[in-house]
Every structure is written in structure tokens, then in C-alpha cells.
């Protein structure tokens, strides 16, 4: 160890050790190995996570050595060379003063050793920086597009996880190589499923993330989990029941004290029976349309102040089955059918997204909608148990479902499209069936309905 430190210093570098224990252990470790250089402690694993030594790998790191291991370390380590071997590690990184990374090594198994020669070579003046994200090869993109043309006409093989794997071939890896540390992102329904995965991914890209959730306990738990997994402390909870207009007004008043760069309408419901909110609005209508409409309106000023404001509507592939319907949207006359109510309001979200894009055209804000495909989320399992049973082996993971939401929120140069509908990072048609096209009058009526239902009651 001592020799290796000398070799590093001979090349103008310094060795810095980061461990996950307490300062006491660090002092002992330092003494034991005769280290005179910097030794840092990271009991919360913040640097470990930032270095990508997290999730799966963190489990290898976190079980603390029992106290008597210190004794073993002191007495036996130099003989056995196992427990106290400083090269038995999580990872090695060589970083230069120009902030280039010239070496990266992450161990997969206990006992992995990086070749010391490579580390020393990375310290040389002419060492090549590592490109962390390389461009997707053209051939792979071509294959992805070619395969997509084959599977996309068939809903099942496109919306399912096979579809994701094929579409992913054409994804540009560099699109998500972004630093969102100057962005504040709001996500409704963020404590589970697609909303949770979106929040997690955006926090991982450095954004300040506000989870808008109904339930304090579940919301706090999700926020805590995201902070732990990403090492990003700027993950907060705001209580919001988007189906309740008073709650929307209160939450908007609280969050609008800060900037809003990205607003993601993700919260959704699929009820078995007709349920009317305190505002007298049917639940899917309130949750998917009226509440998000009001929230967008109340945060419009904040979004317009952002140099790159984005509003994203998480719709559903189920919307393809329905036409925009403004006859009895509150289900006062019809026999209630939750699946129809869901699909109709999801169709209306796509239209409403286009209407907002038009309303905000000329501002810095872009508005787009997407559908996640068929993902295995807690809501699908509880709301569509039969669909879930039939399809669970082909469903996407929630993270795969969230990918396009993350991409719409994070990619550079989003300004080139607004009022569009996306699936797996590609713009898609909003109609697959001839009878689902709506009239211009119905589009206007949808906007008026949302305005009327979200208006402050005259007291």
C-alpha cells in the first residue's frame, strides 16, 4: 500500500480513501496502513451513490463489520490480506484538475482488484478521458427503427416489454446525459409506480424534486427512499389531492413560492363505482382533467418564468379506444363504467395537452403528452386485476414505463416540439381508429368544461 502511494505521488497525484464507517474506524485504518494522506468517511454513502456504487452494489458495502472485526483488522489483516485489504473495494476513480475522469473501476465481487498499472497510467498527462456516455451506434439505431416498424402495428408487441426492448435500441443514450441541478420538477402521484420511478430518475439527474402525494406517510417514505437511493437531498413532499380543488389551490400556493421548471401530471385513478368529489365532480374527471387543468393554470406564471418550462401529461394507451366525449362527462345520466371513464378522460388529457400547448405557444413552455405502454404498477394490479393476471409476464417494469416521462422532462432541446404525443421517446399518432377523431367544437367545449368546473365558487 505504502509503495503504491509513493508511485501515485511520483506521478503528481494523491491517493484519497473513502470509507463508509465512522471516524474512529478511519483513524484505526489509517494507523494500520501507515497512510498519511486524506481519508474520508461517508457513513451515509452519499459519495458512494454519486459514484454509481449504489442500489445493487450498495448492499455489498453497507453491512458494517462487527466491532471485533476491528481487532481482526489490526492483528490479522496484513497476514491474511482479506478483511483489511485496502484494494478490496467498491471502486477507484482517477479525476484530473480539468474535471476529466481518466479511470473508473467498480468491483463486482468481493476481492476484485483493479490493475494498479492502469491506475498509474491514468495519472499520466496524456491519459485519455473516459467518455461516460457514448453515442448510440448508428447500426443499433437503424436496427431499432427497423424492428419497430415490424412490431408497432401490433399493439401487444409494442406496448409490452418486448416493445420497450426493441424501441430502446433506437434511443439516443446521450439524451439523458444531462445535469438537472438547476431544475425544480413537480410530479403528482409520485409515491409509487411510474410517478415514483420518474421522481427517482430526475433526482438521480440532480434535479430538485417535489413529490405531490395525497398521503403524508406514503409520500414521506417515497421521498426518503429516493433521497437514500440517489444521495440527492433536494427531494421534498407536498400534500396534494389533485381531485380536490381546494387542495390544488393550497398546494399551488405553497409550491409557487419557488421556481417550477417541469410539471408532470401523473396521478391517476380507475374507480369501480361512480364517486363524486367534494366539488361535485366525478372522480376520474376531477383527477385526470379538472385538477391538473387548475394546477397548470395556477403554476402558469412560474412555468413561464422558467427559461425551459415543460408540462407533461401521463396519459394511457387505453385512450386510443375512445373518442373525446363531452356528452355527460360527469356520468350523471350514464350507467357508470370505470374503464370507460378512465379511457375517456385519458383521451381528453391528450387533447387538453394540445390545447395547453396552443395556449402557451410563443412562451418558453412546451406541453406534451405521452403513454407509458403496459407497465406492472400497483395501480394496474389493483384496478385491472384480470388484465394484470393475463399480461403480467409481458408487462414492462415501472421504470421502463417512466422512461419517456423522464426523457420528456430531462432531454435537451425540448423546445422543438410542443403539443405532441409520445411513446417510447418517439412522437406517435393520437388516433389508431377512424371513429376517435374529435371535432373542433368538442375541443373548445373541453377547455370550457375545465374552466367552468375549476372556477372558484362565488361565495
Amino acid at each position: 500500500m505504502r509503495d503504491q502511494v509513493d508511485e501515485i505521488r511520483a506521478r503528481g497525484g494523491e491517493l484519497v480513501i473513502v470509507g463508509n464507517g465512522s471516524p474512529n474506524f478511519a483513524a484505526a485504518f489509517r494507523e494500520d496502513f501507515g497512510l498519511d494522506g486524506p481519508l474520508l468517511v461517508d457513513p451515509e454513502l452519499r459519495a458512494y451513490r454519486a459514484a454509481g456504487l449504489r442500489r445493487g452494489r450498495v448492499e455489498l458495502l453497507s453491512p458494517r463489520l462487527p466491532r471485533n472485526a476491528l481487532r481482526a483488522l489490526r492483528s490479522g489483516s496484513r497476514q491474511t490480506g482479506v478483511q483489511g485489504d485496502p484494494w478490496q473495494l467498491g471502486g477507484v476513480f482517477v479525476i484530473r484538475p480539468d474535471w476529466e475522469l481518466t479511470y473508473r473501476y467498480t468491483s463486482r465481487e468481493a476481492g476484485d482488484h483493479p490493475p494498479v498499472g492502469e491506475i498509474l497510467a491514468a495519472l499520466e498527462r496524456d491519459a485519455e478521458p473516459i467518455s461516460e456516455v457514448s453515442a448510440t451506434p448508428d447500426a443499433q439505431r437503424w436496427l431499432g427503427r427497423a424492428l419497430s416498424r415490424i412490431v408497432d402495428p401490433f399493439i401487444v408487441s409494442s406496448f409490452d416489454r418486448t416493445g420497450f426492448r426493441i424501441h430502446r435500441l433506437a434511443f439516443e443514450a446521450q439524451d439523458l446525459d444531462v445535469d438537472l441541478s438547476d431544475k425544480r420538477c413537480l410530479i403528482s402521484g409520485a409515491n409509487s409506480g411510474i410517478g415514483y420511478e420518474t421522481a427517482l430518475a430526475l433526482a438521480d439527474l440532480g434535479a430538485e424534486v417535489v413529490l405531490l402525494c395525497r398521503n403524508r406517510e406514503r409520500g414521506e417514505q417515497a421521498a426518503q427512499q429516493i433521497r437514500e437511493q440517489t444521495g440527492n437531498a433536494r427531494v421534498f413532499l407536498e400534500l396534494l389531492d389533485v381531485s380536490n380543488l381546494d387542495s390544488v389551490r393550497a398546494a399551488a400556493a405553497r409550491v409557487s413560492s419557488g421556481p417550477v421548471d417541469v410539471l408532470i401530471h401523473n396521478a391517476g385513478v380507475l374507480p369501480d363505482e361512480r364517486f363524486e368529489t367534494d366539488d361535485g365532480i366525478e372522480l376520474t374527471l376531477a383527477t385526470h382533467l379538472v385538477g391538473p387543468f387548475l394546477l397548470t393554470r395556477l403554476l402558469q406564471g412560474n412555468l413561464e418564468k422558467s427559461p425551459d418550462g415543460r408540462v407533461i401529461w401521463v396519459s394511457s394507451g387505453g385512450m386510443y379506444t375512445r373518442r373525446l366525449n363531452l356528452e355527460d362527462p360527469n356520468w350523471s345520466e350514464r350507467d357508470y363504467d370505470g374503464v370507460v371513464a378512465y379511457a375517456e378522460t385519458k383521451r381528453a388529457q391528450v387533447v387538453l395537452s394540445e390545447l395547453w400547448a396552443e395556449a402557451l405557444r410563443g412562451s418558453s413552455v412546451v406541453v406534451n403528452a405521452m403513454h407509458p405502454g403496459w407497465a406492472d404498477t400497483p395501480s394496474v394490479k389493483s384496478s385491472l386485476p384480470r388484465f394484470h393476471r393475463l399480461t403480467r409476464n409481458i408487462l414492462r417494469t415501472p421504470a421502463e414505463g417512466a422512461d419517456t416521462v423522464v426523457w420528456l422532462a430531462a432531454r435537451l432541446r425540448a423546445r422543438q416540439s410542443t403539443g405532441c404525443f409520445f411513446f417510447d421517446r418517439e412522437e406517435r399518432r393520437t388516433h389508431l381508429l377512424p371513429f376517435t377523431r374529435e371535432s373542433e367544437a368538442d375541443r373548445r367545449a373541453l377547455w370550457e368544461l375545465c374552466e367552468r368546473l375549476s372556477a372558484e365558487p362565488s361565495r
Partner: protein, 40 residues
């Protein structure tokens, strides 16, 4: 976000309890940052 950028703003304690901002580590010279699995 790139690893170096992510690491740069993190502050950790050194073995004597002094706070160190990680970007200071590579300000003057290249650094070999070793994350070990054990101690503690």
C-alpha cells in the same frame, strides 16, 4: 449527469472530523479516489 460533477458538491468528514468538499481534492492535482468496502 457525469460522475465528477455529481461527486464535486458532496462534503464529507475526514478522519479528524474536518469537512472536505470533494471538488477540493482534485483542484491542484489528479486524485486517485478509492472507495473501500470496509472499515466500520
Amino acid at each position: 449527469m457525469r460522475t465528477v460533477k455529481k461527486l464535486s458538491g458532496i462534503e464529507l468528514s475526514d478522519w479528524q472530523g474536518e469537512r472536505v468538499r470533494l471538488e477540493a481534492l482534485w483542484k491542484e492535482r489528479p486524485v486517485v479516489l478509492v472507495f473501500i468496502r470496509h472499515f466500520g
